[in-house]
Amino acid sequence: MLGRRQLREKWFLLAPAMAVLALITLMPLANTFWLSFTDTRISALPTPTHFIGLENYIYALTDPDFQDALFRTLYFTVVSVGLEGVIGVAIAVLLNQQFKGRTLLRALIILPWAVPTIVNAVAWRLIYHPDYGALNSMLYQLGFISDYRSWIGDPMTAMHMVILADMWKNFPLVAYVALAALQTVPGDLLKAAAVEGASPWKRFWSITLPWIAGPLMVVMVLRTIEAFRVFDIVYVMTGGGPADSTKTASFYVYQEYFNYLRSGSGASYAVLVAGISAVMILGYYAAARRQSQGGAA
């Protein structure tokens, strides 16, 4: 329903935003892609760079440490987002009940999400402290452990501790979206099912969950994409240790760039990571499309 002037305006209105994005994202993206085929290094001296074809990629793909980093990142992503989903929905269901102090709890839930990632990482690092950490002290005083443990110094637990911290900050997002979706579930439908004799559990699985699945899907995929690029929490909490057990893909690329100064090679790692992200972004797109087409809203 547009006139010609309005069609022309379409581009005028978009132009500033597009210009900024082109400069800050598209050009760097293209540049990174180009770099990944060269042997460029970070240097203050004029150094010749050469086009070396797929050499970087071959190196990257045969680099077992990088593969480990990728799998670690995937593990972090899947477990972290999975837990956020389960806990987020569970808490949303709880918040959707009638009880005293509900408003207060709803306000409280948003707080972890407002805590800056770095503060979150720092706070949890203090909590996990092997000697004076609250976790050790609490578990010890409650009698769950008899000796203090090294939570982020042990490769068996370190990643899970990072996941716990990440989950604590991010479950509110899922909970809030799930709660918003829950409030659109028609009460009549649930009442009808209850009258038909469906147990609460059955009602949740066959009515509530399918109803909120759309929005939930969207936010979960969004979180997945975000979790996959995890860097800051690891940087502050563990620095990638112990024994590389928390070194994620972004951290790996960061090292390649700024520790080893191999920008060409780092770019090839970055492109590979971006490629995986791109696949997930397409997944997001599909989820969002399906959501807006079959929308419960």
Binding site: Q6, L7, E9, K10, L13, L14, P16, A17, V20, L21, I24, T25, M27, P28, L29, L94, R106, A107, L108, I110, L111, P112, W113, A114, V115, P116, I118, V119, V122, A123, W124, R125, L126, H129, Y132, S137, Y140, W168, Y176, V177, L179, A180, V219, F228, R229, F231, D232, Y235, Y254, Y257, V271, V273, A274, A278, I281, Y284, Y285, A288, S292, G295
Partner: protein, 279 residues
Amino acid sequence: MRRSLLQSVLLYACVVLVALFTAGPLLWLVTMSISAPTDLTEVPLRWIPSEVDFSRYQTLLDLNDGSGERFLSALRNSILTAGGATLLALLLAVPAAYSFSRRNASMVLLFAFLATIMMPPITYILPLYSTFSSLGMLNKTLTLIVVYTAMLLPFATWLMKSNIDVLPIEVEQAAFMEGASTAYTIREVVLPLALPAIAATAMLSFLVAWDEFFYALIFTNDLSAKTLPVAIADFSAGRVTDYGVIATVGVMATLPPAILAICFQKFIVSGLVAGSVKG
């Protein structure tokens, strides 16, 4: 539906559990910030501080103290950076969102917008670093503002678009019929109507920018541009024997976003719902 006693007990047990899980770490952070240093190194821990000590807050707010200076300049930089980027992003996002919502700009383009921020920052960092480096623009608040603007823009555009979508289009048509230009219509008609959405978008954008660490880590190197997250990372890894100081910095850095989040709780829900519930 009435609940049985058992159900009530279970429900409230869950409520308490969730409240503890959510508030526990925060409460502990606050407690640490006001505990005496010796309380924090007892084994097992002393949960209730032996004395309440606000001196760390005083120190951090004292410009003449080393850590105070570091904290306050980082605070200033964070406010400037996050605020500037939010302002700029909105300035660009509103027309763009209007174009997507009312001028049939392609949804594929909007998705391309979104895809750019979903890529890991690691993909952009090096070329950006080289570019800013050759322009002599590293370690400047302005540089971070520009980068953050690009980072916030797609999300802000998307949120604003979803919100403009649900505004009554006829009001704008009426303005057009009455002879108002697009700019006039946006300014006089759309913006006042979209004010809650703008507030929500601004708030969410501010929080995202406030939280950003990676670009700030690489693009800034001293008091003049370093933002809070980087300052906190430095603080916490350096020679600080008093964990209470780290906790205090954490509490102070959390206060602005936490206050925003609590005050604009409704907006967050509407913003998120507009954003993620509707595709």
